[in-house]
């Protein structure tokens, strides 16, 4: 990973840092607001810092925070975090070919630092996994550069946000910025009609089932939405077979 000399001394490391810089710049306000939103949603400063340093996944942090504050059981918080993170499962399937030459632990550490912008930029620069050791090192160094730039900018701006949050009165309602952030990500995922259906079913179900204890409405809503979409897929396939 990026603290290894063989990677940060490689010329491709700097290319990675440079490629990520515009992304990091755009991310500044977002990271700041995530930091503010964590504290303003009701987490303590220590909890917010602890979460920022460990979890390193903005959308799952923002989704988990209202559930934690509402006193949902741990498994519900973790299930919601897992579902929000499922896009990374899809990324990991793609990254497998690039990383399998590494031993297991370095592979997992590399995976931990691979977030949305690093994945997009990496797979754009290297459309195919390397077929020789030299190119493998080049790819690894580039990914390390991306990860380093992304991690340092995200973490420092989030921590700054947490520090600033204490100076802002809670009554301003800045925690709502976190909800708007999730709403924006939600819109960015609405890339097909069935995904829109998924969002509608989940949203309605979460409201209707709100009275369930333990925030189980979240889990029920996800299950119903996925089930509805899988059924709709089947229906569509059956119709196409008939036509």
């Amino acid at each position: 990973m990026f603290w290894q000399a063989r990677l940060y001394q490689h010329p491709e490391f700097k290319v990675g840092v440079r490629d990520l810089a515009p992304q990091a710049f755009g991310q500044i306000a977002w990271a700041l607001m995530t930091g503010v939103a964590l504290v303003k949603s009701g987490m303590s400063v220590f909890e917010s810092v602890f979460m920022t340093l460990l979890v390193y996944a903005g959308s799952s942090q923002l989704a988990a925070t209202p559930l934690i504050v509402a006193g949902a059981p741990a498994w519900v918080v973790l299930a919601a975090g897992f579902c929000v993170n499922l896009r990374f499962v899809v990324f990991s399937l793609h990254m497998r070919g690039y990383l399998m030459h590494l031993p297991r632990w370095p592979r997992i550490v590399t995976g931990y630092f691979n977030t949305d912008p690093t994945y997009v930029l990496f797979t754009r620069r290297f459309a195919h996994p390397a077929d020789n050791d030299e190119l493998r090192l080049t790819q690894e160094a580039y990914l390390a550069g991306l990860s380093f730039a992304n991690w340092t900018s995200w973490i420092s701006c989030s921590l700054l946000g947490i520090a600033l949050a204490n100076a802002i009165p809670t009554s301003w309602g800045l925690g709502f910025a976190g909800i708007l952030c999730l709403l924006g990500i939600q819109c960015s995922l609405a890339s097909s009609r069935l995904r829109v259906l998924s969002a509608i079913v989940a949203g309605i179900a979460a409201v209707l089932a709100y009275a369930l204890p333990l925030k189980l409405n979240i889990v029920l809503a996800i299950l119903m939405a996925v089930f509805a979409c899988l059924m709709a897929e089947q229906l569509k396939a059956a119709k196409e077979r008939l036509a």
């Binding site: 909890e47 993170n85 990991s92 924006g184 809503a221």
Partner: protein, 116 residues
């Protein structure tokens, strides 16, 4: 949101955070955790397409249209206007940051100025 402002840390929350960190590790490395190659069943692969947006929607929608466990009955709520503007801005500009900034640009004056 009752504990807002108390700034109290509790051990349970810290454990949940450790759990969330483990979930980050597992989801980001999912298909290369194991040394041997393997595949998800077909329905699970399809489900991956729909679960993330469902999870976000399930968290987000109640935070916008409900207060104290009830569906809101007034249109004078800053969150609805901010969310509507946020969605419109996203689909016009395809930019999450702008969604947050302009959404809050609607939310704050209504919330602080009019008390909605």
């Amino acid at each position: 949101m009752s504990s807002t402002g108390l700034n109290v840390t509790d051990a349970w929350t810290l454990w949940v955070i450790v759990g969330l960190a483990i979930i980050t590790v597992v989801t980001r490395s999912f298909f290369f955790l194991s040394n041997t190659e393997w595949h998800l069943p077909h329905w699970a692969q399809r489900g991956l397409q729909y679960a993330p947006i469902a999870a976000l929607s399930a968290v987000v929608v109640p935070e916008i249209v409900m207060s104290q466990g009830q569906l809101i009955t007034t249109w004078q709520d800053a969150r609805i206007f901010a969310a509507a503007v946020g969605v419109a801005v996203y689909f016009a500009k395809r930019n999450v940051l702008l969604t947050i900034v302009l959404g809050m640009g609607v939310y704050l004056p209504l919330h602080l100025g009019l008390g909605w």
